[in-house]
Amino acid sequence: MKPTAGRVYAWFERRLQFEGPLKDAAMHPVPSRTASWFYVFGSAAFTLLFFQIATGILLAVVYVPSAGEAWNSLNVLNHLVELGWYLRALHGWGSDFMVAVVFIHMTQVFFFGAYKFPRELTWTLGVFLLVMTLGMAFTGQVLRFDQDAYWGLGIGASILSRVPWIGGGLVHLLLGGPIIAGATLTRFFALHVFIIPGAMLLFVFLHVWMVLKLGINEWPMPGRLVRRATYVKEYEEITRKDGIPFIPGAFWRDLAFSGAIIAAVAVCAFVLGPFGPSGQPDPSIIQTVPKPDFPFLWIYTVLAYLPPQMETPFMLIAPILAIAALLAVPFLAGEGEKSWHRRPVAVLAVSSIAVFWGVLTNLGTFTPWSPHMNAWSSDPIPVRYLRTATPLVRQGAAVFQAKQCRNCHSIGGAGGLRGPALDDVATRMTMDQMRFKVVTGGGNMPAYGKNLSPAEIDALVSFLETLHPANEPPAYDAAQRALELDQPSASPAAHANSSAQGNPGP
C-alpha cells in the first residue's frame, strides 16, 4: 500500500513540483509571539470568503437571476427545495460574519501597527478588500430582490443622482435603464457573482502572497520603533532568534478559529434561519417600510440625522474621504511606534469610531425618526387619559387620532418617536403655544393650519391641555398670570383646575 501511494505522489510531484514552494510557505519561521489568538482573524476572513463562494455556487444552482422570477425562486429555495432554506441561511449568515471578521481583522492590524513599513501595500489591498466585502454585502442584498432590495436600490440611485452634471447618466448605468427592473438585477448579478468575487480572489492572492513574502507582523513592543533602514534586518533577527515554523506552531490556532467561525455560522443559520425574502418587488405596493441590511443600518441613521443642506456633500464626499484616509494611513505613519500602548490617537480614533458606529447602528434598529405609519389606526389612546374628559376633550382626542398625529407623537408609550412624546405636553407649552405650533408647524412638524378646521384645532388643543401629571399643573403664560393675580377672584389653583378640565380657551 505504502509504496503505491508513494509512487503516485512521486508521479504527480514530478509533474506539478508543488513540494518546494509549499514546504517553504509552511515551514517559514514566524516570530514565536505571533502564535497568538490575536492573529487569527485574517485567516478566518479568508476561510469565510471561500465558504461564501461555495455556498453561493450552491445557491446559483437554483436561483434565477431574473426580475420576474428571482423572488419566486428564493421562496422555492426557502420552502420547496430540500434544505434550500439552510443553504440560504448559511450564505446570509456567512456574509454577516464575514463583514464582522473583516472589520475586526482591520482593527487588529491597525492596533498592532502591522500596516507600517514594509507592509504598506498589504494594507492598501486590504482596504480595497474591505470595500469589496461591503460591495458584496450590498449586491447580495439586491439579489434577494424583495421589497428591501428594491427600495435599497432606490436609495442607491437617489444618492448617485445627486452627483453634479453626470448624476442622471450614472443612475441609468446603475439601473441599466430608466427604472429598477430586469436590467438592474442582471447587472447586480454580474457584479455579485463574477466581477467583485473575481477581483477579491486576485486581491486576496496578492494580500496573502505579501504576508508570506514579508513575514507575519511581529508582536509590537513599546519602544521598538520601525525604521526603514533597519527594519528588515531586525525582523530577520527576531525570526532567527525566536522563530517557530508557521506550521504547526502558529497555524493550528488559525485552523481552530476558522473551524469555530464556520461552526458559528452553521449554528446561527440553523437556529435563526435565512434572511427574507420580504414582500415581492412590486413598486405599486406602497405599504412597505424598507430597511437596509445590518451592515448598512448606520448609513440609514446618518441620512436621517444630517441637516438637509449637508446631505448631498456628505453622501458624495464622505465615502471618498473615508477610503482616502484609510489608504493614507501607512503612508502618513509608515514608521515609528507599533505598540498601541504608545499610540493614544490610534486607540482614541478606533474607540470613537466604534462608539459612533454602535450608537448609529442601534438607532437604526428602531428608527426613531420614522413615522409609525399605522399608529393612528392601531394604537388607542389610554383610557386613563379620557376618564374625566369633557365632550370637547374627547372630540380633541378623536382629532388627535384621526389626523395621524400619533404617527409621529407617542402617547401612553405607543406611537411614533419622530416628534416628542405628548404625555405631559401641557406642562411644557401653554394652550396658545400649542395652538400656534399646530397651526404653523415648524422644526420637523408640518403646519396643520390648512388641514384642520378651527373647531378641530380648538378640540385638539383642549385635549392636549389635559395631558399633564396629576401633581403637576399645566404651563401658564406668566404675563397672563400676573394680570389674573391682580384680580382677587382668580387663584393659581383655580386656573390649573379649569385647564385640567379642558378649558376650550378664549
Binding site: 431574473s66 426580475a67 420576474g68 422570477e69 423572488w71 432606490g154 436609495i155 437617489s158 443622482s161 445627486r162 452627483v163 448624476g167 442622471g168 447618466g169 443612475v171 441609468h172 448605468l173 439601473l175 441599466g176 430608466p178 427604472i179 429598477i180 427592473a181 430586469g182 436590467a183 438592474t184 415581492q280 418587488p281 412590486d282 413598486p283 405599486s284 406602497i286 405599504q287 412597505t288 417600510v289 424598507p290 440609514y300 441620512l303 436621517a304 444630517l306 446631505e311 420614522s370 413615522p371 405609519m373 393612528w376 384621526a402 389626523k403 395621524q404 398625529c405 404617527n407 404653523t440 408647524g441 415648524g442 420637523n444 412638524m445 408640518p446 403646519a447 396643520y448 390648512k450 388641514n451
Partner: protein, 216 residues
C-alpha cells in the same frame, strides 16, 4: 523616451548575460554566440507583438464601452405618454393612487414595471400627478386623506396635498409628472424613476409654500 530605453536595456542585459551558459530547453532558438542583431530583432518582434495586442485591445474597447454605457441615454428617449385611465375616474378634490405599466420595459421585468403614482384632481379638470418616490431617498410615500399629508416611512419626509414640502429631510417637494387629458383619458409623461438629477423636465414645486414664513 529614456524610460523606454531603460526598460529595453535591462532585459537585453539579462538575455545577453544568460547567453554564454548552454541552453538546454530551447536548443534551436538560442543558437550560438552573442549576436546583437538577432537579439534586437527578437525584442523588436516581441514589442511588435505587444503593440499588436494593445491595438486590438484598444479597438475592441470601443464596442465594449459602448455596450456597457448603452443605458446612458437622454431622459426623453425613455419617456412617453401613458394613460392612467378615464379622467372621470378621479373625483374632484381627492387624491387617488393610480397605476400604469412603465412604457420602457423588457419581458422579464416581472412586477417591477408596475408603477404607482398619486393623482390629485384639484377640480375643473386640473390635475397634479405625483411620483410615489420621496424626494429624499426615493422611498414610497403614503397619502393620508384625513390629515391631507403625504408621509414617507423611511426618514420622515412629509408633504402637503399640493406636493410641497411640509417637513423632514427632503430637499424639495414631491416629483410631479407632466399630464394631459386626451379623449377623456388622463395621460402622463412617464417612463423613468424620478430622481433629483432628472427633474429638468419635471415641474419644480416650491419648498416653502404652505409653511409659515416667519418660522425660525
Amino acid at each position: 523616451m529614456s524610460h523606454e530605453a531603460q526598460s529595453e536595456a535591462q532585459p537585453e542585459a539579462q538575455a545577453s548575460g544568460r547567453q554564454p551558459q548552454p541552453t538546454t530547453h530551447a536548443p534551436g532558438a538560442g543558437g550560438g554566440r552573442e549576436d546583437g542583431r538577432i537579439v534586437s530583432r527578437r525584442w523588436l518582434l516581441f514589442k511588435a507583438g505587444i503593440a499588436l495586442n494593445g491595438l486590438v485591445g484598444l479597438v475592441l474597447a470601443v464596442p465594449v464601452l459602448r455596450y456597457l454605457f448603452a443605458p446612458w441615454r437622454k431622459d426623453s428617449s425613455y419617456k412617453s405618454w401613458v394613460s392612467l385611465g378615464p379622467a372621470d375616474g378621479f373625483p374632484a378634490g381627492e387624491t387617488r393612487l393610480a397605476y400604469y405599466q412603465n412604457p420602457f420595459r423588457n419581458s422579464w421585468d416581472g412586477q417591477t414595471d408596475d408603477v404607482a403614482c398619486y393623482v390629485r384632481h384639484i377640480g375643473q379638470k386640473q390635475f397634479q400627478v405625483f411620483a410615489i418616490n420621496c424626494a429624499h431617498l426615493n422611498c414610497p410615500v403614503r397619502w393620508f386623506p384625513q390629515s391631507q399629508l403625504f408621509m414617507c416611512p423611511c426618514h420622515g419626509g412629509v408633504y402637503y396635498a399640493d406636493g410641497s414640502l411640509a417637513s423632514g429631510p427632503p430637499p424639495r417637494g414631491l416629483f410631479t409628472y407632466n399630464w394631459k387629458v386626451e379623449s377623456g383619458e388622463l395621460q402622463i409623461d412617464a417612463g423613468q424613476m424620478p430622481t433629483l438629477s432628472n427633474t429638468a423636465s419635471l415641474v419644480y414645486i416650491q419648498a416653502d409654500r404652505g409653511d409659515c414664513p416667519c418660522r425660525g
